[in-house]
């Protein structure tokens, strides 16, 4: 059985770059553990071993694009929604290595 604790919730929150207060994480961990246990039970159904995973309903071949340049040279449009753009660059707080 998968047990999710508060710290796991907080770690997962960091993975998607949101914060969650301790109390909320506590509640979420408890509820999620219960949900997972319920889902886990249902997924024990041996029938699922007889079929492949279904990734998508789409059943056609992947389309291939010709290697030609059809886009770009639209810097103004690309930057038009940016909060902070300097000299044609997007500007963000200094990224640390």
């Amino acid at each position: 059985m998968t047990k999710i604790d508060k710290d796991t919730i907080k770690e997962m929150a960091f993975w998607v770059r949101v914060r969650i207060p301790d109390e909320e994480a506590e509640v979420m961990a408890k509820e999620f553990t219960e949900t997972l246990s319920w889902i886990g039970e249902r997924l024990k159904n041996p029938e699922i071993q007889t079929v492949p995973p279904m990734v998508t309903p789409f059943d056609e071949q992947i389309p291939l694009r010709q290697d030609i340049v059809t886009e770009g040279h639209q810097t103004a449009a690309v930057l038009s929604n940016a909060t902070d753009a300097t000299d044609e660059f997007f500007s963000v707080p200094k990224m640390v290595e």
Partner: protein
């Protein structure tokens, strides 16, 4: 002149064609209705100036004899569709300043067919919900009872159609988000086969489930819109090359001898009009029979795992760096956290956190892949059923709309209560809900038959 907003899309087209009124007149009538009923909060963004300009251009085209299939028809567009130059928010604060520099393929096709943009309709934030209460722009009210929710997530579109604030509207389905509000607002809604309508320019929730579709006052209206929107798009790798029929011409109201299956598992709760509808279809000459869909009950759980897993990564791009509302921070990570914390509502944040688990190494192996296998079993249910019958018939949402208060206190959160809707989302089959709350589900790519049967179902009042 009578109130032009009373006309269905099909009748309005006829009136325009017969020059009984112009698109500008029709558009003005709708803009008037939008103003009058603004309290319903069906629209996030109204675009009256653009609408009038488009209507005028439409009238010019018609005068020159260049009328398209939807020439002059004013539409609402769910705010999940990117509209070039018009704010597109996904009902989220994080995109509350976003003006797309490109147009979704499906909406472009509507404009190319002559349609007019009235505005962008409200939805649950990033289409995550079934009551349109998680919108950053506030709840949409059900026009039939303003204390109630319109359903969701395409609640703004459904309410706008029901209240005659547009002739038709686009919607998107991931887990029932067209049929659910269609049912709650008593309008028609249609979700075509996954791959019929391009997802290009539609803000993603869960990519393997998202399917653009339509809501309107009648099945015929839906058919007219969807045949314009559907068709192969080279910009979407999951867009089908299959031919798109002229759906509205196939609605011949003849279902004699058609085999209609009623899934046993879809009969736990039945609405008041159910028995009458069954009898009606029999009277129309259809052959009704029970079918088994044994994995129906698992659909909600499978949806929960897959939609959250996919959503988490689809929403990773909203970080404030390139577009959208930014909240500053000392470091890049701080900026991301501040932006995403303030930018997303709680429901979205929670789904992203849990979705992270389902795509983590452990969650993927233990839950995501098994859920995808269960998805295969659900698909098998459909394959087997469609060996015996042409379409499936059931209620769409077997309950009455809940109040906004109830919804806020979690009534809508009854996590796995959309079981009549979800299996068809997971498998990608076409499905629609008539304006009497009854739904028809068909074989992959057999959208035409679904619409045809639905058109008959709708006659049963």
């Amino acid at each position: 002149m009578t109130d032009l907003t009373e006309l269905t899309l099909t009748d309005a087209l006829k009136g325009l064609k017969e020059k009984k009124f112009s698109s500008v007149e029709l558009t003005k009538a709708y803009l008037g209705k939008m103003e009058e009923l603004r309290r319903l909060n069906a629209y996030i963004t109204e675009t009256p100036e653009k609408a009038l300009q488009m209507a005028e251009e439409s009238d010019n085209r018609r005068a020159k004899g260049e009328a398209g299939k939807l020439e002059g028809i004013p539409l609402g567009i769910k705010d999940m569709f990117c509209t070039k130059g018009t704010k597109t928010t996904a009902a989220s604060r994080i995109l509350s300043n976003f003006i797309p520099p490109f147009e979704a393929t499906t909406t472009q096709r509507l404009w190319d067919a002559g349609a007019v943009l009235l505005g962008k309709t409200n939805t649950d934030e990033f289409a995550m919900g079934s009551s349109t209460i998680t919108s950053y722009y506030g709840v949409t009210h059900n026009p039939h009872d303003e204390n109630k929710v319109p359903g969701g997530s395409s609640g703004g579109s459904a309410a706008a159609v029901a209240a005659h604030m547009c002739a038709g509207a686009t919607g998107t389905e991931t887990g029932g988000s067209i049929r659910h509000p269609a049912s709650f607002c008593k309008v028609s809604g249609f979700k075509p086969t996954y791959g019929r309508c391009s997802r290009y320019g539609v803000i993603a929730y869960a990519s393997s489930l998202d399917e653009p579709g339509v809501l309107a006052r009648s099945v015929e209206d839906c058919a007219r819109m969807i045949e314009v929107m559907a068709g192969h798009d080279p910009k979407d790798s999951t867009s089908s090359h299959r031919e798109v029929p002229e759906f509205h011409k196939m609605l011949d109201k003849n279902i004699k001898g058609m085999k209609i299956g009623i899934p046993k598992e879809y009969q736990e709760l039945l609405p008041a009009n159910w028995e009458k509808a069954v009898q009606f279809l029999k009277d129309e000459g259809a052959v009704l029979m029970d079918v088994d869909m044994p994995h129906t009950e698992e659909a909600g759980m499978v949806y929960y795992v897959i939609s959250q897993g996919e959503a988490t990564t689809n929403l990773a791009r909203y970080d404030g760096a390139r577009y959208g509302v930014r909240e500053n921070g000392e470091t890049l990570d701080e900026m991301y956290m501040n932006t995403r914390m303030k930018g997303f509502g709680q429901e979205v944040r929670n789904r992203m956190i849990l979705g992270t688990f389902f795509t983590s190494a452990k969650g993927y192996h233990d839950y995501f892949v098994p859920a995808q296998k269960m998805r295969s079993l659900i698909k098998q249910d459909f394959d087997k059923a469609f060996e015996k019958v042409d379409v499936l018939f059931s209620p769409a949402v077997p309950i009455e709309p809940f109040t906004i208060e109830e919804a806020k206190h979690g009534a809508a959160k009854g996590r796995f209560n959309d079981n009549y809707l979800m299996p068809s989302c997971l498998t990608g089959v076409p499905a629609g809900c008539a304006n009497n709350g009854l739904q028809v589900i068909g074989r992959m790519w057999d959208d035409a038959t679904v619409l045809k049967v639905l058109d008959v179902v709708e006659m049963c009042k």
